[in-house]
Symmetry: C2
Subunit: 242 residues, 2 copies
């Protein structure tokens, strides 16, 4: 009935329906016009996410999503030799994995609007404080993620989008354009504050609208109540429901 928007990604997508989350804001923006489905998998990198691809996006679906955001990289960019090295994926493979995802989605539906989102910047101080709050003095001295490395992955993501002729949101650069982004947008140096969620929401709405998925231009799925004649209500429903 309504077009579907699928949010595919890691924890930053999984948590997008927490209070003030970018996913729920998007669902509200597309209220009565599109359904927003979360397919966020905390801790996943692109290598693991590839295993989910045909399961979440089967090729033979009669109703593929109208739009999908692909939002990975925060885990792929975890450093080797540090706490989260299990999640590390080399940047060349990260790019290749993203490419496989995009091509698969385009095979599902050539008309699907596919938008890549880069990992957010990393606030290394914030990560350190977070690790200390969890592990106290046992916290690792060295960061498991750096902002510089997240930037390397972000650039590959943006360049891949250009090569494939699809849209990307360079969240890594966008957020760093605001003074105090470290605490303003990131709650633990990596995940989003409500203000950080608002940036993602705004960017996704902007990019969707620049393509062909502007909520303002989409019709309501069913009549607005003001179109219903109290004495002859059936008239309003003739076209769509009767």
């Amino acid at each position: 009935m309504r077009p579907q928007i699928v949010l595919f990604g890691d924890s930053i997508t999984e948590q997008s329906f927490r209070s003030g989350g970018w996913g729920s804001s998007l669902a509200n923006t597309y209220s009565r016009k599109a359904d927003v489905l979360v397919r966020g998998y905390g801790g996943y990198n692109t290598r693991w996410a590839l295993f989910l691809l045909t399961h979440i996006f089967p090729l033979n679906s009669t109703k593929p999503p109208a739009a999908t955001t692909i939002f990975f990289g925060a885990n792929d960019a975890a450093l080797l030799g540090r706490n989260s090295e299990r999640q590390h994926v080399p940047v060349e493979e990260y790019r290749e994995n993203l490419k496989k995802m995009v091509l698969h989605l385009k095979e599902c539906s050539p008309a699907m609007l596919v938008v890549l989102i880069t990992p957010p910047p990393v606030d290394e101080e914030g990560r350190k404080e977070y690790a200390k709050s969890l592990y106290g003095e046992k916290a690792m001295q060295f960061p498991e993620r750096t902002n510089e490395m997240a930037g390397v992955y972000a650039r590959q993501c943006v360049e891949l989008a250009k090569d494939l002729g699809i849209r990307a949101i360079d969240l890594w650069s966008k957020m760093q354009g605001t003074d105090g982004w470290q605490k303003k947008f990131l709650s633990d140096g990596l995940h989003l504050t409500p203000e950080g969620n608002a940036v993602v929401h705004e960017e996704v709405v902007r990019v969707f609208s620049e393509a062909w998925l502007s909520a303002a231009d989409m019709p309501y799925d069913l009549p607005h109540h003001s179109e219903i004649d109290g004495k002859n209500p059936e008239k309003a429903f003739l076209q769509k429901c009767l």
Copy 2:
């Protein structure tokens, strides 16, 4: 893949994905376990909503919702002879319309968990202030809704649920059990504040859990990242994805 939870109702359902809304909180509670779809239609009464029924819940669906909340009555209970009389539906017909909805959903899927939610209480002072903020001195002297009348509809909703052997949430009574409910739970005398949304969220989670749809007892749709062996990731996906 995941079971679906559908929220069917009027504006209080339509607005449930605003910041702090009960719909987005529910989506977060069932994160990675069920999808929450909003089918809220602001201004609708049960008479108009009946026209949508087979459109939203087709009888031949291969994947009917696992659970549906039906949350109408705030508009049906609008008084005759007042500003919103166009939305008024007599209480006997309200009850009959709700019954038709429940029977239709049970025909769609006898296993579907159907939960009726009564209209919330009405803060008549809050409605008056809201009308004044919109229309100034031109605001109607007399309220278009009263708390007493909302209670009449709420009782019929609860009694119908008993008669049909299904679950109901008596929101009208529940909210009035808290001192200062008028401003604490209602933003304009009728719609919900974040605290009011929290009450609905809590009640829906309670009733779903008392039935068989407890998020805590439901499996993740796909492996948690901690189950993935970094060196042999495919093992974790054998059962569900390969």
